[in-house]
Symmetry: D3
Subunit: 241 residues, 6 copies
């Protein structure tokens, strides 16, 4: 994984941890450059517990979430992180924002991008971000899209996070990544979001279930924990993978 | 690809050439063990031109097709080949035939199996064979399925050929294999089936189109010819492929 | 649930426990008549661990599995159980077997039938049984299907088990049943199948995940454990459920 | 429609009337050769009312249904009709039956075949017949399928009846045929099946609804009654239809 | 149904009558609080007949449609109704409008919301409204979405109307509601829209067809008229419904 | 085809040539009025090669592309053409633009409209245009949509271009048009876009493949080249096409 650039784009503060934390840690451990863009702090849509505190303010929620994000990203080995502080619930994409992400992709030149898949049965922001990342990735490859100070990128491989309720979001696991050897890092990162204990339990269970699927699909008994992703378009290469 | 066992199961005489000949040649060139089971000579369903010859007989059709198969398999580097001589159009699977393929898989212990995908809008045999191969691959892994002289296999990765009319057969390319460096071998193999000139032209065109898709999906301009396959279940492993 | 007849049809020995044990216990506790047909002992396809024992025989596997089944069914409150001892892997349905199940449905007159859904990405028997149960349920309602000693049944509601790998089996949860108050019984039943420890862990995780989904879909925080089912045809009645 | 051969294959006695009676009448009126194969009398699955008569026998049901069929076919202008008297509920296709239909297609040389579509949420026979007709139509075109006294047919266009519950049977209307000018004939044919009054009302309602759809899709206000069909494969020709 | 809050959101003037009038009447009769939001008068898209009158004006169309709506809502037992007077054809959703509906849901606290489903093959407004209602229902549950004077709602069950051409709009009936005992009220409400006689006939036919489906799915012969809805996410509860 | 109005709406400069050039030429040859709206020059998204030239400007790209378009349209027999010069990559639809296309459709009164289908796996503009054309076609038929100087149109038949990567764009060929007798004109038109040699080869291959499909679906050996389209809603008429 040396010299591989992996870019993760997360709609809200913690999406990347629950859904791709193990894969990020695995790539970081393997020597890849793992970078992260977090589009919003999830102030409105993903901070229910914080708002139960008397006198809560938007700024204070952001402060708390930033601390959580930074700690979690550290556990996963993220090299470079940006928080773009869009409003969430619901998120809106403007031409300026599309240009910004397009330029960012051209700068990072990722081999792989992981972000939200096209459908999420309970989260309209995730669907918005999925299209946002797809559009920007396509624009990033076209040299008629002139953005000062950038050069075109090659088409990145796009992968979709597993949504929270997979089946009713039309999610199919196309790629299951074994995260057994870095699962402790994912756990450490998940534990940074203490206010969301039910999600720590939930995504712990998911990792175990996907590990079971990994064993059944491959016959390889060493897989204990795994994460699943969808693909946006086919694998291309020289081997039957 | 050293030490990789690739098994191809072809319903009729030439299916393997049109749809996977390049990938077979690539694996053979890379040092894999490529083996082939051809279930029928395609006497009834895929030998239209031969039957236009006055006085044609079933035995003669088989003789001609065997010669074509053997020559084509040679071009592709097939190490081991069996022709099981089932009747085609339409093909029927019995318990005995299911056991035979199960036992064969246990003997070959393939890492990958390529055969027909679950739907083919114009060929009922291809659908029958798809289920046949899937069932046998599942049975081959279960040690309660007792077959004298065999031991269980690990679950093989299953890949589906591209059917002739892909869209109306619900085919999605999950894996596109670059065959640029072995395309001459595929051409040589296709040319063994001289009576089917329209198919030689057709699958030449397909290889060029899939090469175009390979370039667009990857940004890699070196891909000129390619073959597409569907997957039966997710990729499992350590990298985002 | 008084006066409700619930029939569960299980392809192999333990399918009913993992996938519907909680719902069966809930109905039994609520006063319903819960009955069970187990089509096979799962000797060939679902007894891998037992066959690892030196000198194992088919009869001995059946003996062990029967004891497990009976103990588990007891925990769940099953009133009436039959084991039909079909061969599995793969299972075959004859006219005689279709008549037998049709007659059984006419005798039991179930309001609800739970069995396997139409697709299972790794288990051909489950697909066979799904069609078997559907066909028999349709035949059971037609009074031109003359079977000595039976009278026609009303069309039962048909529900499909959640398959082991739900997404690649095209499973959508249509109905999620809260099993929180009977979860101890499901656990007790699962623990009867000690040789399959990985499944006990797996389906424990599943129940927790489905409980999370139940809370999110309903806003009802009391749901902790749940089971999911597909429907074969629409709900009909007087309320928006 | 002069010189057009239209073949309709009906699983049970009355399927052709409810689902294609208007189109058959339209083609007959337009000068086409309309022929009909009825595979079963529907004794077991589609004669519920008759079996409510004390002392009913299978032979008597067949006698009554034959009279209804013949009268209805007369109203629709059917030129040639065969009843093959297979058992229904459920129907089974043997090699001999496949050969028989293949030979029949070769004899009739239909330009269009109308029969059951691939899925019917409540009628397993309809699914069986759909595959039966498709398989035979494919075999009929292959000159390696040697059947004494027959010559190969061109691939017929295949159309699927609208199933009784369209949406849950995955039916999409691909072709909507205006039957306004022959609707009286369809009504006359439907009225031959007096014992099934609820179906006469039902398919009268359907014809009116499809007429509404026909107006909306085309902007042509003259369409009052219509029938819908699915296609098995694409339209091919010289105009955008 | 006592203490149940049912909210219906209708894109245009009469959508609620054709598609959910019977269910609304049933709930009203059963003691539920039935409330209604009508987003537009359908001036541009659903008042073709009125615009055929010489000298017609937008204000006059609104006046006429308001009278029809009020009379129809009276027949159905609607307790509280608002007309928001958005422009239609095509309708646009702003942040302000999203907040307005979110706040309304928080005020009404509906157990069930019925509105348009996600796809309508001939009506872009219906698709816009479907997403609008879904988004607002999600936002209404999140306590980070701060709207003065409101408190969060529990997630409502969301149901989709049957679109006019169901199959090509990917509609599946998940829930079929028996409206036999209130069908006279639905008829009275439909008759308020005299200018649309073809729709009165059409949706009368639909109610009869769905009644037939209700009988077939349940075996309950008492169902004569029914309405069908899709679900946005699974049923959750304690019984197999 | 006399008196038939065919309107083609192309997102970028050359889309119409690759995907519908043969059908346009066929209609023009048959005496139809073929008109064309090109929404953008494809400056940003489809002129990669031109931007590789040192000192390239947007105006110069437009100049070059206009010359290519005009020459190609001449070969195909287009009678009336407009270039609306929207920005591409990505294209945005405003109310003003929606009105403009609605008015244009009312002026042209097309029997058939060919444009982009609803999904394109690599081109967000194509999806935008698909919805744009659909929306405008619906609005054009509603006489409540008051646009000065226009009268309502009848609902046109809508057809979708084949997207570049058909399967991953969910494209199904519903209609395959034989273009054998005008293929030389399509070739001449394609050759106007010399800078895109790989597309000339690609769409030449496609035409040959679709010709093969046309032969197989119809049994008509005269078809050599063809183009495929999807339909937006069912065919309505008097014959089984």
């Amino acid at each position: 994984m040396q010299n591989t650039n992996l870019l993760v784009v997360s709609a809200h503060a913690a999406d990347f941890v629950w859904r791709a934390g193990g894969t990020m840690a695995k790539y970081a451990k393997g020597g890849a450059n793992v970078s992260l863009v977090i589009l919003s702090y999830g102030v409105r849509g993903e901070s229910n517990d914080l708002w139960n505190v008397e006198g809560q303010t938007s700024d204070n929620v952001k402060r708390i979430r930033r601390a959580e994000i930074e700690e979690a990203a550290g556990h996963l080995g993220v090299e470079q992180m940006e928080i773009w502080d869009f409003d969430d619930y619901h998120m809106q994409i403007t031409e300026e924002r599309l240009n910004r992400l397009t330029a960012h992709i051209r700068k990072v030149k990722p081999h792989h991008i992981i972000s939200h898949g096209p459908k999420d049965a309970f989260n309209p922001d995730h669907e918005t971000v999925s299209k946002y990342v797809f559009d920007a990735s396509v624009l990033s490859t076209s040299n008629g899209v002139r953005i000062e100070g950038t050069t075109t990128a090659k088409q990145a491989r796009l992968f979709g996070f597993e949504p929270h309720q997979s089946e009713i979001s039309n999610f199919k696991p196309d790629v299951i990544i074994d995260i057994t050897d870095v699962y402790d890092r994912k756990q450490a990162a998940m534990n940074c979001f203490k206010a969301q204990g039910h999600l720590i339990e939930y995504y712990g269970g998911k990792a175990m279930l996907r590990g079971n699927h990994a064993r059944r699909c491959s016959g390889n008994g060493a897989y204990k924990y795994a994460e699943a992703f969808s693909r946006f378009f086919p694998y291309v290469g020289g081997e039957l993978v």
